[in-house]
Assembly symmetry: C2
Homo-oligomer: 225 residues x 2
DNA sequence: AAAATGCAAATTGTCGACAATTCTTAATAT
DNA sequence: ATATTAAGAATTGTCGACAATTTGCATTTT
């Protein structure tokens, strides 16, 4: 489960990139903190060149920001940034759902329905770690179902790590589990009915709801710190 | 005119990046060709390190594809790639138009209307180099009007160079000038009326038409080569 | 003759050192 | 005391050399 795109590290820079990405997403390297090339190269026991390349790749994912002759910093999480990110998600994943309704194979649709019913059991039995893993799995399948390689790459290699960063660092295990499940159900039905318009509309609403939910959480976190 | 985001080269890699990007977009470096680091470093009279960094950045723009231990190639232009690109444009620029209808200032809307009427004069007087410069200017202004920094960066720094590459290398100076102008007019009206839904719908249709137009051209080019 | 193997050449990946820029801090001037 | 300047330290940018991997070609093998 969730073993698509098994991006395996072949080069040294790959390893550094994956490791840094993980540490940034999970907050082990704090949001907003400076990334010293020398420091990281001693920490990971590689040359500065591979750290530089890893940082460049992190910049492509929008996980760090670099300024010439000054250095790189991990992005800071802000309500505005979250809004922007979810506006983009709404546009791109709405399109992905539309395309998935057109181009997913019958087998893929059935797998998606299967995933949903297995998740239904989990939710019913209170194993509600649904949000993180389950929600991501659902979205990934639809993204892959779009059959648009550029779109897939943009979302999977690019934006979704930032999405996860927001989720992880705001401690999302929210009460949104069951309602989100219903939303998923309706989206799958639209895809199964080969109704691109509806699939897109429902996906966009789903992401809007999700945005509102996480935004509320972020606002409360901001206040009592 | 068209002097936004004056990305100025501060470092040596910047210069190499900008130059290579220009040469790739304009076909001086052929689509699908291999990028030899050594060759380019002698050609530009810089070290391999800066060429490598430039190539990495070009990969982020989806202008080149890299394979570990093998090398980088300029992307190849295909009908499928074009379809994918325009599906993404439709989603992102549709959202941009929606946001522009909400967040553009009155001044920006007036400037946009001014641009349109000045272009109307040009079209009427047969100066119809409208398509390239004029169309891009129109789209850029709406993208910037979205006020979504991530979206702006994705489109301006990322996708639009690829869009230009398709346009330039397929010799777009098409007969679509006047009809596209009417589409622009209606989009601006929706933005001016602060009607986000309509602005998005019209922008999406505009891009769909544009896609069909360029796809037809690509098909004919493919056949008689 | 076709396929497999092994060596040589070429290309990419990694490294440490040097150059250029920015940041820090302390001294000086107003 | 504040602002300015200048020297020093630290960080990033660039370079050439070496290591690892891939590619091309010749040889061998079936």
């Amino acid at each position: 489960m969730m073993s698509f795109l098994d991006e395996q590290a072949v080069t040294s820079s790959d390893k550094a990139f994956f490791r840094m990405r993980k540490e940034i997403v999970e907050g082990e390297i704090a949001a907003g903190s400076k990334l010293s090339e020398m420091e990281l190269s001693t920490k990971y026991e590689v040359s500065r060149a591979v750290v530089r390349e890893a940082i460049n790749r992190l910049e492509s994912c929008h996980l760090v920001e670099r300024k010439a002759n000054v250095g790189a910093r991990v992005v800071t999480l802000t309500p505005e940034g979250l809004m922007e990110l979810y506006q983009i998600r709404e546009a791109l994943e709405g399109m992905a759902a539309r395309l998935a309704a057109q181009y997913m194979t019958e087998g893929e649709v059935q797998d998606l329905e299967g995933l949903l019913s297995s998740q239904f059991d989990e939710v019913k039995n209170q194993h509600s770690y649904y949000q993180e893993a389950g929600d991501l799995d659902f979205h990934y399948r639809i993204i892959l179902g779009s059959k648009n390689a550029s779109l897939i790459s943009m979302l999977v290699n690019g934006l979704y790590h930032l999405v996860r960063m927001y989720r992880v660092q705001l401690g999302m295990a929210g009460p949104r589990v069951t309602t989100a499940f219903d939303e998923h159900k309706h989206i799958v039905r639209a895809i199964s009915n080969r109704d691109p318009e509806l699939a897109e509309i429902l996906m966009r609403r789903h992401i809007q709801y999700s945005k509102n939910n996480i935004a509320a959480k972020l606002a409360s976190n901001q206040s009592h710190i």
